[in-house]
């Protein structure tokens, strides 16, 4: 226990760097994922067959292949045509992946808003995009917050896969330090604690947001 404690405190600075990278990867990839998710959710509800098929195809490919394969294809595969930096290969790979799940979450939330809301807005002279932006999406977003929070947690943990293309984010740091010291276990415990803390903070934040959005209930 004493050994673990000294490893935990002794590795603090290195892990902080890893944490910083993990946070940057997560935030960047999730922001891109939200844009991708919104875009494909719109395609899915567009009622235009070819757009729906494009969205289905995207979701099928993402859900049908492991994330690590997607990241490797982006980083090693595309490197033959275009050398993409590790950070961006990982961010885009993660965003591409989360985007599919977020698209489904948003689509479900939009479709859960009753038709009466759209009709009321249209009857006031609001056009389709105004109705979507001002009436449907704000309500859908509220309903999607718990699922989105869940997806963000998954996204943060998935960012550990970025270590496989050489990024020294949290998991990469623990792996490197473990192999340098031939003593993996304390470092894996250490990194687990960091992830638990991030997820705890995010969970609390999502709960707070839910409470704040519940004022109209």
């Amino acid at each position: 226990m004493g050994e673990f404690f000294s490893i935990f405190t002794g590795s603090f600075d290195v892990f902080m760097e890893g944490l910083w990278l993990t946070l940057r990867l997560s935030v960047v990839s999730l922001l891109i994922a939200i844009v991708i998710g919104l875009f494909f959710a719109m395609l899915k509800i567009s009622r235009i067959k070819v757009l729906e098929i494009i969205a289905d195809l995207y979701i099928w490919i993402v859900r049908g292949t492991p994330l690590i394969v997607q990241i490797f294809i982006l980083f090693y595969g595309l490197a033959e045509i275009w050398l993409i930096p590790e950070f961006w290969a990982a961010s885009i790979g993660l965003a591409f992946h989360s985007g599919a799940y977020i698209a489904e979450i948003i689509r479900g939330a939009i479709q859960s808003i009753t038709k009466g809301q759209t009709e009321a807005a249209r009857s006031l002279g609001m056009n389709r995009s105004l109705t979507m932006r001002r009436i449907v999406l704000p309500q859908a977003f509220r309903r999607a917050v718990p699922s989105l929070g869940n997806q963000f947690i998954i996204g943060i943990k998935d960012s550990s896969l970025a270590s496989f293309i050489g990024l020294q984010e949290l998991f990469g740091v623990s792996n490197t330090m473990g192999s340098n010291s031939f003593n993996y276990l304390p470092y894996f415990f250490t990194v687990a604690i960091y992830y638990l803390l991030i997820v705890l903070i995010l969970t609390i934040a999502v709960n707070q947001l839910e409470k704040k959005l519940a004022v109209s209930d």
Binding site: Q117, A120, R122, L124, G125, M126, R134, Q139, S216
Partner: protein
Amino acid sequence: MTEPREMIRVEKLNKSFGDLHVLYDIDLKVNESDVVVLIGASGSGKSTLLRCLNFLEFKDDGKIIIEGEQVEADTHDLNKVRQKVGMVFQHFNLFPHKTVLGNVIEAPIQVKGLSKKEAIKEGKRLLDKVGLGDKYDVYPSRLSGGQKQRVAIARALAMQPDIMLFDEPTSALDPELVGEVLETMKELGEEGMTMVVVTHEMGFAREVGDWVVYMNEGRIVEEGKPDQIFDQPKEERTKAFLDSIL
């Protein structure tokens, strides 16, 4: 006397949902300041007819003429048309994420481009008018059904429509809350608003209506002044319907 201005004219309107033919050759005329009440059993097509008038449903064929202009879904900007034709729904359809005042000022700001200040001033005036002057900042979930429906009426009025459509506005209300909504509608009618009302409230139809239209199975069976329809219906089917509900 000058000829009354014609606000709505419907000619030979037909509408089907798939194989189900719900409106047959409907002809209807609504003059300015008239309160026209559509009555009939559930499924008689009256709500569908109302929804065709602001293009929430599209007719199959026939003409819909709003304020002298024949409106076609593919050539007209329906958003413009809908600004002139307000609608109140059975289930209120208030925006739950916006306050009472937020519901009322949304479209005037976003659609008409009113400044927030102007919209709030007008919104408050309308809410005062429907008796909700103390509820500006409340969310709809805190209101009774009757209050919700009055907010919905104020919201529609905020667009300064020339015509108001009411689709069974009291059918979702507890009996004790029906009166306050009908009272608001009555005042509106007395102020000269042109109204088309689908309702099962025969007292309202008789008292406030200028013209009553009885529909059955997608057809207009009989229409006339309230006294004539309620006291001396010509058609057997009208008689049978009135006997069944009164």
